[in-house]
């Protein structure tokens, strides 16, 4: 069986069935509704935007309605793409083969707050910031904290297996979501967790299906309800930023901070010289810094006041002994608060002549072990320098390295690249895709993973996913075909169309 091509023209019959299932006002066919759901903030061939416009959008109001929409799509072999906040950085919510976009934003209710077991159960269309406004009244917090915190949704965090800024303290989305309900590609509604039990954090019963249905980028189903693990809202936050005269001393310092075993440690970040140069262009905290500020380190701690202060003293002592210069409370507080909302940064780059040009922020990430960070940094900057030499519509906005865990084993390693998208053409896009593939190859060559955070299903890096996963990729293909026999669920992602190709 081979399934190729774009979606069939949606027939009046399909529209009638969807309207019967949802009501006419929740089946959207206008250009506005469809164009607004044609892309995400990931690198995008803007000159080809029309290729990714969905045929229609539906806004179901319950899990049963989601299931009914999926059953209709499956019966008619129509591609279906789940969309939550649309803030992902790897095209998960982009309808590459058109079809039906299922926008889950109406599933935004808080169904239960269990104060005794410290859990809450929510619709997956709810945003974490809005949820925490309610939980805060109970002295609780759901500490899943992406850079898109004010605008991403719980369901998208499940579909992408999100990475959290404070994950070194509280864990990432996979740790914070105890169980969830999802609609399989055939329309069947199931619940998965760590074994059974809606509110169980550790089970040894059966396969660990929760992890299978996280990070699939919408290729295995649509999450509709989630039960989340809650923490006491922290009494105290500590977020010192330090300056260094060179990368190497900052690198040594961040390693020592991450390995210190401070219980309230929520993360540490290292910013390299390119990033500092970028910040000097238009970030109020760094424009006035003296020229010998060439690298930055930040650490973050959350918890009870006495514990944060005790841990904070230890972190400060480590940094002081490593030659760090504290940048002061105003910068430390302001810069940290701004990191919960990085989708609101100024988006302009520089041409080689130094002129300001409108550019979009794009970022390539990988999971890299501490000892390999310097080498990966050198190679990634070289790749982007070669790209900019050929196509000056690209601009190197620097790199940062962010602890993923509380031991300092690996870092979300990211290079930010400005792209003057209006100037993209086929040649520049092809060069960008080649650069992305090269960046992913460097990560693998250094024993890392293509992505710690964003996912790896865009053009370029997706070519190397089979290499990264080895025999595990073959299992992915088998799982995909078993669960989605008609390849309707977000087709075209992760190269999974191979699951439907006949063996030669």
């Amino acid at each position: 069986m081979t399934i190729t091509g774009t979606a069939p023209q949606l027939s009046d019959r399909v529209l009638a069935e969807l309207t019967d299932a949802l009501g006419g006002e929740y089946v959207l066919t206008s250009k506005t509704a469809r164009y607004n759901r044609a892309r995400v903030p990931a690198p995008f061939p803007v000159h080809r935007w029309r290729e990714r416009v969905p045929d229609l959008v539906v806004l179901p109001g319950s899990a049963e309605q989601v299931a009914e929409v999926v059953r209709i799509a499956n019966a008619h072999r129509i591609p279906i793409v789940p969309r939550d906040g649309g803030t992902g950085l790897t095209d998960g919510a982009v309808p590459e083969r058109r079809g039906i976009v299922v926008d889950v934003k109406r599933l935004d209710d808080i169904k239960e707050i269990d104060l005794d077991n410290r859990t809450c159960t929510v619709g997956t269309g709810i945003n974490m910031l809005k949820l925490n406004e309610v939980l805060g009244a109970h002295g609780l917090i759901y500490p899943d904290d992406p850079a898109s915190y004010p605008c991403s949704l719980v369901g998208g965090r499940i579909g992408t297996s999100g990475w959290s800024l404070v994950g070194s303290r509280f864990g990432h989305t996979r740790d914070l979501v105890l169980s969830f309900e999802l609609v399989l590609p055939t329309g069947k509604l199931i619940r998965v967790g760590d074994g059974g039990g809606r509110k169980v954090s550790k089970s040894s019963s059966g396969y660990q299906l929760k992890h299978l249905f996280m990070g699939h980028q919408g290729t295995l189903g649509i999450a509709t309800e989630a039960t989340l693990k809650l923490y006491p809202k922290p009494e105290a936050e500590f977020s010192p930023f330090w300056a260094f005269p060179d990368f190497d001393s900052a690198y040594r310092c961040v390693g020592e901070l991450a390995r210190a075993g401070v219980a309230t440690f929520a993360g540490a970040v290292l910013f390299d010289e390119w990033k500092v140069d970028y910040l000097r262009r238009d970030d109020e905290a760094y424009i006035p810094q003296p020229a010998d500020v060439r690298a930055l380190v930040c650490a973050v701690a959350y918890g009870n006041d006495d514990e944060v202060r005790a841990g904070g003293r230890r972190l400060l002592r480590i940094a002081r002994d490593a030659g760090a210069r504290y940048l002061g409370d105003e910068i430390s507080h302001g810069d940290w608060a701004a990191r919960h909302d990085r989708y609101a940064t100024p988006l302009h780059g520089r041409t080689p002549a130094g002129q300001v040009a409108p550019m979009s922020w794009h970022c390539e990430d990988a999971a890299i072990n501490y000892t390999n960070l310097p080498a990966v940094r050198r190679e990634w900057h070289s790749i982007v320098a070669r790209l900019r030499d050929k196509h000056p519509i690209f601009d190197d906005w620097g790199m940062f390295f962010y602890t993923s865990a509380d031991t300092g084993v690996d870092y979300l390693t990211e290079i930010d690249v400005g792209i003057w998208e209006q100037e993209l053409d086929d040649a520049a896009w092809a060069a960008w895709v080649d650069a992305k593939r090269d960046i992913a190859a460097v990560a693998l060559n250094h024993g890392g993973s293509i992505s710690a955070c964003h996912g790896s299903c865009r053009e370029g890096e997706v070519d190397l996913v089979p290499l990264e996963l080895g025999g595990g990729y073959d299992v992915m293909l088998q799982v995909k075909r078993a669960l989605d026999p008609n390849n309707i669920m977000n087709p075209g992602k992760y190269g999974l169309q191979r699951a439907y190709e006949e063996a030669p």
């Binding site: 406004e133 805060g136 009494e235 109020e284 006041d305 904070g312 302001g334 608060a337 002129q355 040009a357």
Partner: protein, 90 residues
């Protein structure tokens, strides 16, 4: 409260060159040097009150974000002063 004067609001204070790429017209509010925005982008006309409002609003947002995440943002400077005084080494 002072009266609104259109001319006054559309006459920004003189720019002080802060770095080779940035200028400062209001205290702690930095702007990209206008000479770098002459080819590919056009600058918007902002009345002074709007520039100040945007900066103040950003400050309000960051303060709100601190309160959203924790009851208190601990001062690193105070902890550092304790360390330097020898009180924090225990």
């Amino acid at each position: 409260m002072s009266a609104y004067r259109f001319e006054e609001q559309h006459t920004p204070p003189p720019a002080r060159q802060v770095t080779d790429v940035a200028v400062e017209r209001f205290e702690h509010i930095f702007e990209v040097d206008p000479k770098l925005m002459t080819v590919h982008v056009a600058q918007q006309l902002f009345p002074n009150w709007d520039t100040l409002r945007i900066a103040a609003s950003r400050g309000d947002h960051l303060e709100w974000m601190h309160r959203h995440w924790a009851a208190e943002a601990v001062s690193g400077q105070k902890l550092l002063d304790e360390l330097d005084a020898g009180d924090g080494d225990r």
